[in-house]
Amino acid sequence: MHIHPHMKMSDLVKADFELLAVLQRLKIPFGFKDKSIQTVCREEGIDLNFFLNLAKWFHERDFFPGETLMNHPVKWLVKYLRSTHSCYIDYQIPRIESEIIQIENTDQASSKNMQLMLKFFREYISEFTAHIQLEEEKIFPYILELEENLEKEKPDPEFLGKARGYTIRDFLDEHSDIEEKLTDLRNILLKYLDPPSNNCMFTNILIEIFRLGKDLNDHTILEENVLIPQVIKLEEQFHQKFPEG
């Protein structure tokens, strides 16, 4: 499918329903009627090219989003990533957790194994939450301030102090791999656990873990290959515009 501005938004979703995730994260409400992508984006105040670049990447997969996405204001991407975070924390992860609990409660035979899975998954949740918290409370505010201050005649003195001693490169170094544990959980469920009698629910848990893993992988690509290189560029511009001393 060739994604273009004049195609109907509903046709886009019909052709590839995985794009619903992109729409949701950009907070585009449904009820498109016969509106085109262009019209929906205009009405929602979303830059058309930003939308197209994201949608094309999610759909086609074989083109790398780096260069094209980097040409947009960084705050758009931050907004997108934030809404992805809340999707994980508020919905996807609690859902998997409650499904594991459900199997634990209904399936006597596998209850003990499920307890173990639950323990493991909860460990994962706390790691994951810490990871997201760091981004939400430290990294993203820094990025937004950086972009904002770069526009100013004179940077905010408090931010200037912060910017002198910090670079996003430090963050990249400590950007922990949040997918590893999830991949382990997936492999254990798939390869080493006797399937519980409620196979339908068990399969569903696996599907959701696969999906979350794929989603997290995209998320990491966006952060490490678009967001961070873009912020490094902004930092260079910032230090050029406001040289030390």
Binding site: L116, M117, F120, E180, T183, D184, N187, Y192
Partner: protein, 192 residues
């Protein structure tokens, strides 16, 4: 494990074959060319194991000369632009063939390039030594502590751990712990 060169003028057939081969086990690399000159060029640089050649293409060399330019183990499968009879030879495929017919013929040729190591199914079973290392990892010991306990070097511990992770497909310590409990290597109470 075979490299395949598709020599085919038709864009549609080329794309179709690429698509099929991408989903075929044992194909490591695929190249496709549509012009006699580029075909000869790629043949030389790429040195394919299998050449899928449309019989309607006139190459600048004759059949014997073409064979001499391929490596000794390579083979040619001809793409024929007309339907073929039921009992057509394995080295001929038709653009009218069904997906199954194509897959079968191609798989037949791919067989001989199968990697020897792959034929022996990789054993996922941990050795007793690895199980012992895993036990200590699951109990929360560091590489250094394990090395001291078992009178081996840290380097050896690391190398065992790499093998464990490769065999089990589990990377994290907590994942390994779960595996150890599921398989009775340690007990749930041991970690609490």
């Amino acid at each position: 494990m075979a490299k395949v060169l598709i020599a085919e003028t038709s864009y549609l057939v080329r794309r179709g074959l690429i698509n099929l081969l991408e989903h075929t086990e044992g194909v490591t690399e695929i190249k496709a060319e549509g012009h006699p000159e580029t075909i000869m060029q790629t043949l030389k640089e790429f040195s394919p194991d299998i050449l899928l050649l449309n019989s309607a293409i006139t190459l600048p060399v004759n059949h014997d000369e073409l064979l001499s330019r391929l490596h000794d183990n390579a083979r040619i499968i001809y793409i024929i632009n007309t339907p073929l009879p039921q009992d057509s030879p394995n080295h001929q495929i038709s653009i009218f063939d069904t997906k199954n017919q194509l897959s079968e013929k191609i798989a037949y040729h791919l067989q001989q390039y199968r990697d020897r190591r792959e034929e022996k199914e990789e054993t996922e079973e941990l050795t007793p030594r690895e199980k012992l290392i895993l036990k200590h990892v699951a109990l929360g010991l560091t590489n250094k502590e394990i090395a001291a306990k078992l009178f081996i070097s840290t380097h050896t511990v690391i190398s065992h751990r790499k093998n464990i992770t490769r065999k089990l497909d589990i990377k994290t310590v907590s994942g390994l712990t779960v595996y150890a409990i599921l398989n009775g290597i340690i007990k749930m109470e041991d970690i609490s």
